[in-house]
């Protein structure tokens, strides 16, 4: 080791930035706050790349890199260290998180320039980076869980950043609570792991699992553990049925949506499933559940995304859908493909959100696509970068999304754990993805600018202006990545898969395939083309059609546009009973009637007693004399009684 790896620098530098901005940011200038926020994250990013460079040049027996720092818990035989672990998988995650995070920090400097609470924003954002990096670099499940909870906290803080707005505060709470439900599953899984293996450290745990003899293996409830881990992942990564917090999370500032709810935090579930692949390999039922949940979520969210009018909500449902793809990939044991899509998704979805932020910024705050349009010529930089991202996500060949999505679809069909049903549903989702993304593209950038028709515009057109350079440069960087990032995964010669093959040995393929990879690839391209064509038809050529179709579909359309009333359902089934129960039972009956009444009774009885005793102090001299005489008589009687005894 020349200079030492000092892995701890990578997560802890942003923590230092968060602390500095948190404690001193209030009285500092915006430039200082931004400088601190950028410097620490930038340093962390640079150091991550340095570690990556060293890693790349290490001989195979010296990886993975482990940094053991402090022993944290020592309870009998159960030991948990604060240790960081860098193997190929965490290296990829680490680089994606720190690089995309840094880019978004730069963008935020421009986007949040006129907002209050600037120092709070950067402090929380740095705090998020700390927790996320801890999550991906952790060497044990417990440390990962700390990162897991921490990013949930940062997410809550940032979603509710504009805390004076009721909707934002409620959204933050919703995100945290729904996450918590998933975390419950995650915790039970951890308890089971402790019970059967006595350790949560990745190295010890995975070697113990690997060395399990078949008889011993049947005792361990791998399926239960896998399902519980899946529950945790569903909460964090917004899969069915715990996805409802993500669309509401759009109340937060757009860079937050880009970083946390697109590129990094929501991918934590995918990372966790990939990291736990040894467990899932021994729990095929759980793995199937992962694939099914992912596939259904992808399709479900894509259908909702088609009917949304808020640009950020479309992207939110799109994120849920793409995460479903990643889960589907892991569910067919194509973990590398899932992580590859995670990476390309971070590029193009991050870009989509940032560009959407730029669009919203340009039209003065409106987020409703019905009142956009014709922006192509007015904000060209935003337009071209967003186009690159849209092409990527739709799976247009040669863009990054094409390679990653296609690999998933191929593996869903060809892997032993896969099935053509998954592939078919995935293909349908790809068609829908292309459709709703290009719907967004056409509505936002083409046609007439409809800003004057917005309800709060009062007939005036907002002044449209391109965003400042500090916001545009990140867009361009991400656009470049969205285009070239895919070449790492060229089908058949995937450098990405080769890099990760140490962590994920190649999964079994189903023997003979009726269809070849090229045929499936062609079908994907056809699906994407159909989606784009349909969007072009409905939102560019014949703009009268969408309304007519919506009218014809009537109830179905309303259901989809209202997100299938899932939020309302949850509210009625879970939220309402809890709130009413709390109000009627816990508050009125117990708190008011029982506890308060007891306290008041105590006070009232003290009052009654003192009322009685008050008569002794009437201010009337003769009554005092009476009391003295009575007391003396009592003493005298007592003496006589003593004497008589």
């Amino acid at each position: 080791m020349i200079l030492g790896y000092h892995l701890w620098l990578i997560p802890l530098l942003p923590l230092a930035g968060a602390a500095l901005n948190g404690f001193f940011g209030r009285r500092s200038s915006k430039r200082a706050v931004a400088a601190v926020g950028l410097a620490f994250v930038g340093a962390s990013c640079l150091w991550a790349w340095r570690v990556a460079w060293l890693f790349w040049h290490l001989p195979p027996n010296q990886v993975p890199l482990v940094g053991n720092y402090v022993t944290w818990i020592q309870a009998g035989n159960f030991v948990v260290d604060y240790s960081l672990y860098v193997d190929q998988l965490s290296l990829v995650m680490m680089l994606v998180v720190s690089t995309v995070g840094f880019i978004i920090h730069i963008y935020s400097v421009g986007y949040m320039a006129e907002e209050g609470g600037y120092y709070r924003y950067f402090s929380f954002l740095n705090l998020f980076m700390f927790f996320m990096l801890t999550l991906v670099m952790a060497e044990s499940y417990l440390l990962m869980f700390i990162g897991w909870e921490g990013v949930g906290l940062a997410s809550y803080l940032l979603i509710g950043f504009f805390f004076r707005r009721d909707a934002a505060a409620a959204a933050g709470m919703k995100a945290f609570l729904v996450n918590r439900i998933g975390d419950f599953g995650f915790l039970i899984a951890l308890f089971l792991l402790i019970k059967y293996f006595g350790t949560l450290s990745f190295q010890e745990l995975f070697s113990a699992i690997g060395e399990l003899k078949p008889e011993a293996a049947t005792v361990v409830p791998f399926t239960a553990i896998g399902l519980l881990l899946l529950m945790g992942a569903c909460g964090k990564s917004a899969q069915l049925p715990l996805y409802v917090w993500l669309p509401d999370a759009m109340e937060g500032p757009t860079p937050v949506s880009a970083l946390i709810h697109a590129a990094t935090m929501v991918t934590a579930g995918v990372y966790m499933v990939a990291r736990s692949h040894l467990i899932f390999d021994r729990a095929p039922d759980a793995l199937l559940a992962v694939a099914v949940v992912g596939c259904l979520t992808a399709l479900f969210a894509a259908t909702i995304g088609m009917a949304q009018n808020d640009i950020k909500r479309v992207l939110a449902y799109s994120t849920i859908s793409q995460l479903g793809y990643m889960f589907m990939a892991c569910g067919v044991a194509a973990y590398s493909a899932g992580i590859f899509h995670l990476m390309t998704h971070a590029f193009f979805k991050g870009l989509l959100f940032l560009a959407a932020g730029s669009v919203i910024h340009a039209v003065g705050g409106n987020q409703d696509m019905r009142y956009m349009g014709g922006l192509r010529t007015r904000i060209p930089w935003t337009f071209w970068t967003m186009t690159a991202a849209t092409l990527a996500i739709a799976g247009v060949p040669l863009f990054s999304g094409f390679f990653s999505k296609d690999e998933i679809l191929w593996k869903a069909y060809s892997n032993a754990a896969g099935s053509w049903v998954l592939w078919a549903l995935g293909l349908l989702t790809a068609f829908l993805t292309a459709f709703y993304m290009f719907r967004l593209w056409f509505l936002t950038f083409f046609g007439e600018f409809r800003g004057a028709q917005a309800p709060d515009a009062h007939g005036h057109e907002p002044h449209i202006h391109e965003s400042p350079k500090i916001m545009l440069v990140p867009l361009v960087i991400l656009a470049v990545l969205s285009v070239v990032g895919g070449y790492l995964g060229w089908p058949g010669h995937s450098l990405f898969d080769k890099f990760l093959s140490e962590v994920f040995p190649a999964a079994a393929e189903a023997g003979e395939h009726a269809f070849s990879e090229s045929l499936l690839m062609t079908l994907s391209v056809v699906a994407a083309a159909l989606g784009i064509f349909l969007a072009w038809l409905l939102y560019h050529r014949r703009r009268d059609l969408p309304e007519k179709i919506a009218a014809r579909l009537g109830g179905i359309y309303t259901a989809v546009a209202n997100k299938y009333y899932v939020d309302e359902g949850y509210h009625a089934a879970f939220v309402q009973p809890v709130v009413e129960g709390a109000r009627r039972i816990l508050w009125r009956a117990i708190d008011q009637k029982a506890i308060d009444a007891t306290a008041e009774d105590g006070a009232r009885s003290a009052g009654l007693v003192s009322d009685a005793l008050r008569r002794m102090q009437s201010g009337n001299l003769r009554s005092y004399a009476g009391w003295v005489a009575a007391g003396a008589a009592l003493v005298g009687l007592y003496m006589i009684w003593l004497g008589v005894r």
Binding site: R614, Q617, S618, G619, N620, L621, R622, A625, G626, A629
Partner: protein
């Protein structure tokens, strides 16, 4: 000899008269008189016992009681004068500034 009980009964009667006067009289000076009467009743009992059992301690105690009575009378009369000066009355029912 006069039996002891005669003296004790007399002492008790004196004491009771003192108590009744102390409780029911309204004039401050009358109350004080009653207090003195109580003290004297007690004195009589002490002396009676001293004579009966030929012990001097009873008689010595009477001296103590008289000294205390004298001191108390002095202080008490000073208070009565002060009360009269401020409240213009010696009616104990009217000295009730501390009444609720």
């Amino acid at each position: 000899m006069v039996p002891l009980s005669y003296y004790l009964v007399l002492g008790a009667v004196l004491f009771s008269c003192g108590v009744v006067g102390f409780l029911f009289k309204r004039n401050l000076i009358a109350i004080f008189l009653s207090i003195e009467l109580m003290l004297n009743g007690v004195n009589l009992s002490f002396v009676a016992f001293a004579a009966h059992w030929h012990r001097l301690s009873g008689q010595v105690f009477v001296f103590f009681v008289m000294v205390v009575a004298a001191a108390e009378a002095a202080v008490g009369l000073a208070i009565i004068i002060a009360v009269y000066r401020t409240r213009e009355t010696l009616n104990v029912d009217k000295v009730n500034l501390l009444k609720l």
